[in-house]
Structure formats: structure tokens, C-alpha cells
Amino acid sequence: MNGVFFNRNRRILVFLLLLAVSFSMMGIASTDFAVDFKGVFLTVVYPFEYVINKIFTFFQSLWKGLGDIETLQEELIRTQMHLKRYEELGSSIDALERRNEYLEHLLEERRQVRYEHVLAGIVGKDPQNYYQSFIIDKGTKDGLAKRMPVVAYENGKLGVVGRISVATPTASLVVTIRSQQSYIGVLLDSSRYYGLVRGNGRAANCLVEYVDIDAPARNGDWVITSGQSDIYPSGLSIGILTNISRESGQFFLRAELQPMINFARLENVYVIKKLPSADIEELEREQEKQ
């Protein structure tokens, strides 16, 4: 009897079972168990993703290289002419100076990252839109750990990218400031008013919250980290204010933040080897439970 019922309604029963399992997973997704489970999966899948990324990068370079052959030939002829001229001049001082300038620029960029850091390349990005997360090619073997802040350079300026969410021996999952899991204590750089920047999940801009309605904030004002969250060091640029609005009777103004980092173009990031203090982590965990 039961067997007949099951056979007749097998499809709908399996459907309901899968929905129940999905719902249960969503219910427990906020526990650490779910996150660790992700870590195990990431460890298994990372090599495949790394290989696909390498293959794609290889073909991309090959394609670009083929397209550039003509340009390279022209440049080669020009370079040969330049070389001849330099040889005639009997000096290569200019070239040496330019090389020196470039190396000094690189050195200066690294000096600006005042903290101990690790340079990492991006090997995988969020399957969905808006670059809420990505995978980098460095992990616990390189001294990285969960909750370490991640920064990058944009037009010569250091800006916040996000934080490490899952760290495995060879790779790490970075959650960007656009993710709805991201909260950062911030400061309006010009007026020194405090606030909170929260990821919007499905939009390019983040939300700026808890900024006093009387703050003299204007579109285009820079927003920097306040250092209050203990994850991000203070004074790092995040982005600029936009779409500011004030409603009478409210304590706080409404605004959005346009991140300074262009996530679509991001190739390399710096992971700052700084961990929150154990006490603050404990307090935050208790706050999350409440």
C-alpha cells in the first residue's frame, strides 16, 4: 500500500524532501558548522578551479599575444631605432633612470602598506553578481587566517576590499565589503562623524548607516575605517559618499557608499596579517548570539 503510494507520488515526495533539506540548511547556515563545511569543500575544489583559471589565463594571454604581434613588430622596429640612437649617444643613463623610478614607485607602494602583509592573486570569483566574494591563492600555509583584512591599490591609493571568511591551507575565500555579511565601523574623513558601512548584497553601492543627521556630509566625501571593529586598521579608505538624504524626525541620515576599489578589474590583493583581539572576538560572538 505504502509502496504503491510512494511510487505514484515519487516525484513530488522527492521535491518536498529536497525543499525541506534546503530550508533546514538555511536555518542552520549561521552556525560555524556550515562555514567549516565550506572550508572542507573549498579545499577539495580549489585545485580544479586553480587549473581552470590557469588554462583560461593561458589562452587569454595567447589570444592577446596573437593580437599584439603586429603592434609588437612596430614597437620592435621603433625600439631598435631607439637603441641605435642610444648606442650612438654612447649612454643609457635615461633608461636606467626610468627603471629606477619604476622600482622606487613599487617600493613606495609596498611601504605604504604599513602592516605585515601577504600579496595574493585572485583565482576565482563569486558565481553570482556584484563581486560579493572571491578566492585567493594564499591560505593558512602562508600565515593567513579567518577575519584578516584584505586591501588593494586603486589609482595609487590603498583601499579596503574585505576580509577572509574561510582559510584553507592553500586558498582563502574573501568576503568583500559589498557582501551583506560585511559591517565596518567608519569615519567621515572631512567631518570626523562616525557611522557604519554595510554591504548591500545585490547592489554595487554599500549602505551607510548610523551617521548623525546633523553631520555636514556631502556627496563625494571620503569614508575611511574608524578602527572600532578591530578587524580593519583605522584610516584605510573605503569609498565616497553618494545619494545622501535627510528625513525630518530621523536621528540618522541615509546615504550610500561607492567603493573606491573596482572589483571587476581586481587581480591582486594584500592580506594584512592582523587578527582581532581574542576579547573583542568573544564579545562580538556573544553579540551575534543575542
Binding site: 534546503s22 555579511q181 545585490r202
Partner: protein, 165 residues
């Protein structure tokens, strides 16, 4: 058995592809086509509801490991997509380009509706739902059907024939 292997390979291949920088090249205004949704729509349309919903569940779980999305949310949405699309199976031909675009258009609408349904229960989803509908969803409604045409053609070359009833 052959079907199961082919479907598993499709999910793995397009799931990994979706998380690489390759798909960024195809994006418009930072919105990229949902390749896994297209795969699930194809599987459900070609092999029916049971295969569609199981593939949807597996693909959803697979995708969630690469994304900060709420664990179980994509499994739920893709399961419903897999089950829902099977209702138009045998009514249209998988070789028809317009059919493939139409199927994926419907699948994208189901995806949007299901996220709306989940937003009623889960705060994490309701926070992002409004902006998803006004920006990402509308572009996906255009992008997904466009990419469905070559992808359906490609997958149909490798897929085993539809089982006879």
C-alpha cells in the same frame, strides 16, 4: 547512468566556469549570465522533473560553497526551477532556439519569484532582494535567454536522447 554522468559533468564544468574570471568577460554592468540556471533548465526540460530537481539541488549546493549566499537558498531556488520547468517538457522541442530562450526566461522568472518567497522568511535574503529585482534581475532576464541559445545547442550535442515513456 550515462545521463547522470553527463549531468554531473555539466554542473561541475559550468559551476566552476561561473566562478572563474572567464564569465566576467561576458558581464554587462557587473551582471553576468547565470550559467548553472541555464544548465538546470536544460536538464529539467530534456530529462524531466526528477532529474531537474535533483540537478537543481546539487547545483545550488555546489554554487553556495563559492558564494557568501545563505547556505540552502540556491539549493531551494534551483530545485523549484528544476521541478517547475519539467511541466513544459514534451510540449516544445529542445532544438528550437526560441524555445531554449523562452525556457530560460521562465526559469529566470521562477528564480526571481523564489528569492522573493525566501525573502519573507530570511532576513539575509530580504536585505538584498529589493536591489536585486531593480538591477540584477532585469539584466538577467535579458542575458540568460541570450546565452541559453548557444548553451542549449552545446549541451544537446553531448546529452543522451530523452528517455521514452
Amino acid at each position: 547512468m550515462k545521463n547522470t554522468i553527463v549531468i554531473a559533468i555539466m554542473i561541475l564544468f559550468f559551476g566552476l566556469l561561473q566562478s572563474t574570471v572567464f564569465v566576467d568577460v561576458l558581464s554587462i554592468e557587473e551582471i553576468k549570465p547565470d550559467l548553472l540556471l541555464i544548465v538546470i533548465a536544460f536538464v529539467a526540460f530534456k530529462y524531466g522533473g526528477m532529474a531537474g530537481q535533483l540537478a537543481g539541488f546539487a547545483a545550488g549546493i555546489f554554487q553556495e560553497f563559492f558564494s557568501p549566499a545563505l547556505l540552502g537558498s540556491y539549493a531551494f531556488v534551483f530545485t523549484v526551477v528544476g521541478y517547475g520547468i519539467s511541466f513544459v517538457q514534451h510540449k516544445m522541442s529542445v532544438d528550437n532556439y526560441i524555445t531554449s530562450a523562452l525556457i530560460v526566461f521562465i526559469a529566470t522568472i521562477i528564480k526571481g519569484l523564489m528569492f522573493g518567497f525566501l525573502a519573507l522568511f530570511f532576513g539575509e535574503i530580504s536585505v538584498m532582494y529589493g536591489s536585486y529585482i531593480v538591477s540584477g534581475f532585469l539584466l538577467e532576464l535579458v542575458l540568460n535567454p541570450l546565452f541559453a541559445i548557444p548553451l542549449f545547442w552545446f549541451m544537446n550535442r553531448f546529452a543522451a536522447p530523452t528517455p521514452r515513456k
